[in-house]
Amino acid sequence: MNLHPSTRFHPLARLLHWLMAVLILTMLFVGVSMVADLSPRHPWLVSLHKAIGLALLVLVVLRIATRLRYATPPLPSDLPRLQQWAAKASHLLLYGLMLGMPLIGWGMQSAGGYPLPWQLPAIAPHDLRLYALLRALHGWLAYLLFATVLVHIAAALVHGFVRRDGVLRSMWPGR
């Protein structure tokens, strides 16, 4: 089916979406399991978490630039006002968390006095109280991010398989 371009996200936006989707889900599972793990997997999971976190930080900056550069397809006009608002609010929340989580992780490692991987500079002073705050934020916002991702996936599936209104297709890979 040859859709009008404005009904689909830009290919770069779709590529970034799916790449980050896989990485964010991986990241959430790695993060929540590594803190409760003391097996030989633990150090490996921590290294993986830091590497994916840094990759996601680079990707989200690219993604925000892509979002600002290319127009996004409009939501279906028959979508109730409340759902339109919920869609916009949840996307704003997702962007905020995608940008905030890696920065909080980086800041938290800095505040904890931990050496940073790849000789990255500290972005916060070594301060135990600040570390405690950022560590708590990192955990609670991870749960919020996971909950938002669940709602996002559920909404996408309802759009694609129940409402069948083209919203899922707008982000689907391929032509």
Binding site: L28, F29, V32, S33, V35, A36, D37, L38, S39, P40, R41, H42, P43, V46, G112, G113, Y114, P115, Q119, H126, D127, L128, R129, Y131, A132, L133, R135, A136, F146, L150, I153, A154, L157, V158, F161, V162, R163, R164, D165, G166
Partner: protein
């Protein structure tokens, strides 16, 4: 574009989507350990320490009683052919550290605890950090985290005597024949009268990597330059070792030789319970000089996690499972005490 679904087909599809989301949520809960079989976690180990010794907000959850120190490491250059880590070639490396006694009670009497520890951070001029936590025993009684947890449980103090039940300890050692070397050490161990005359051991093995990428497994120890004298039979000062350290450092710096023991081809490099033959080649990597001690619960060491997996390029972890478990448990201890500090606790 297709039309929206209605009726049974709609209900069915909504149910399938709901189930899929619930399954994803459940797998997250499983990964977090909220559901499924009970696992040994860092949280459980720290909970057990606190259940046994008491809750002391703001303090480290093990080796709770200690003092921050600082000084430097003068490299001999002899280890540089085994490891490309800058600490082994830089002539003088700033060091901060912490002397402590074992146990989770920050108010224990110094002379009442057999295990002493020295944790160090070397800050080399290439910006890398090396943290190592060393203890007086050269080996552990156990080979893995499950064994360690069993040992902790077997050492639970009897409320009546304040000491572990000897029968429970005996049963534990009987179940863990790998503890033979540790028991031998404990029988022969004569505590010294000072941190200054104590030797400290890495216990776990590590990998040294040279400039060409060649790997050599090692353990390391700090051998004291101060002469040994036995701990007096009767010690009334609860802070005996701390006062001794302050008095000695008031007179001048204290020194230890950092000695690397090179593993032979068949030596166990992933088992902290098994010693290596005493004939193994040793390399004296340099001299640790400690010349300053801070007041209790002050100093640079206080807000650091001496995670033994914070290693510079040129030193890597071995597959020893205790090393990973230490790293995980230290992080949990650090998280808890920083949270307690943020909530107003003053160690």
């Amino acid at each position: 574009m297709s039309t929206p679904l209605n009726g049974r087909a709609r209900t069915l599809r909504l149910a399938v989507i709901g189930l899929g989301i619930a399954a994803l949520g459940a797998s997250f809960a499983y990964a977090a350990g909220w559901i499924g079989p009970q696992r040994l976690t860092p949280q459980r180990i720290i909970d057990t320490f606190e259940a046994q010794a008491g809750h002391y907000p703001g303090y480290r959850k093990n080796h709770a009683k200690g003092l921050c120190v600082s000084g430097y490491f003068d490299s001999s250059g002899q280890a540089a052919s085994w490891s490309r880590a800058r600490v082994f070639s830089q002539s003088r490396v700033p060091v901060i550290g912490r002397f402590a006694i074992g146990g989770a009670n920050p108010f224990s009497a110094d002379a009442s605890v057999a295990t002493r520890s020295l944790a160090l951070q070397f800050s080399s001029d290439d910006g890398q950090r090396w943290r190592t936590g060393m203890n007086t025993p050269p080996v552990l009684a156990v080979s893995d985290a499950a064994g360690f947890y069993e040992q902790v449980l077997a050492s639970t103090p009897d409320p009546a005597t304040g000491k572990p039940d000897p029968a429970a300890l005996q049963a534990f050692f009987a179940r863990h024949p790998e503890s033979a070397a540790f028991r031998q050490w404990a029988r022969d161990y004569k505590p010294s009268d000072s941190f200054a005359s104590s030797a400290f051991n890495s216990i776990n093995a590590f990998r040294l990597v040279d400039a060409a990428g060649k790997v050599q497994y090692v353990r390391w120890s700090l051998q004291p330059h101060s002469d040994f004298a036995p701990l007096p039979a009767q010690v009334d000062d609860r802070n005996f070792l701390q006062h001794d350290l302050q008095q000695r450092l008031a007179k001048g710096p204290l020194r230890w030789t950092l000695r690397l023991t090179l593993a032979g081809a068949d030596d166990p490099v992933d088992d902290p319970a098994r010693p290596w033959p005493v004939t193994r080649q040793q390399v004296d990597a340099g001299t640790l000089v400690i010349d300053h001690v801070d007041a209790p619960e002050q100093g640079e060491c206080r807000d650091l996690n001496f995670d033994p997996l914070i290693l510079p390029d040129g030193i890597q972890a071995s597959a020893d499972p205790i090393l990973a478990a230490r790293s995980a448990a230290y992080a949990e201890s650090f998280n808890r005490r920083s949270r307690e500090t943020a909530l107003g606790a003053h160690p």
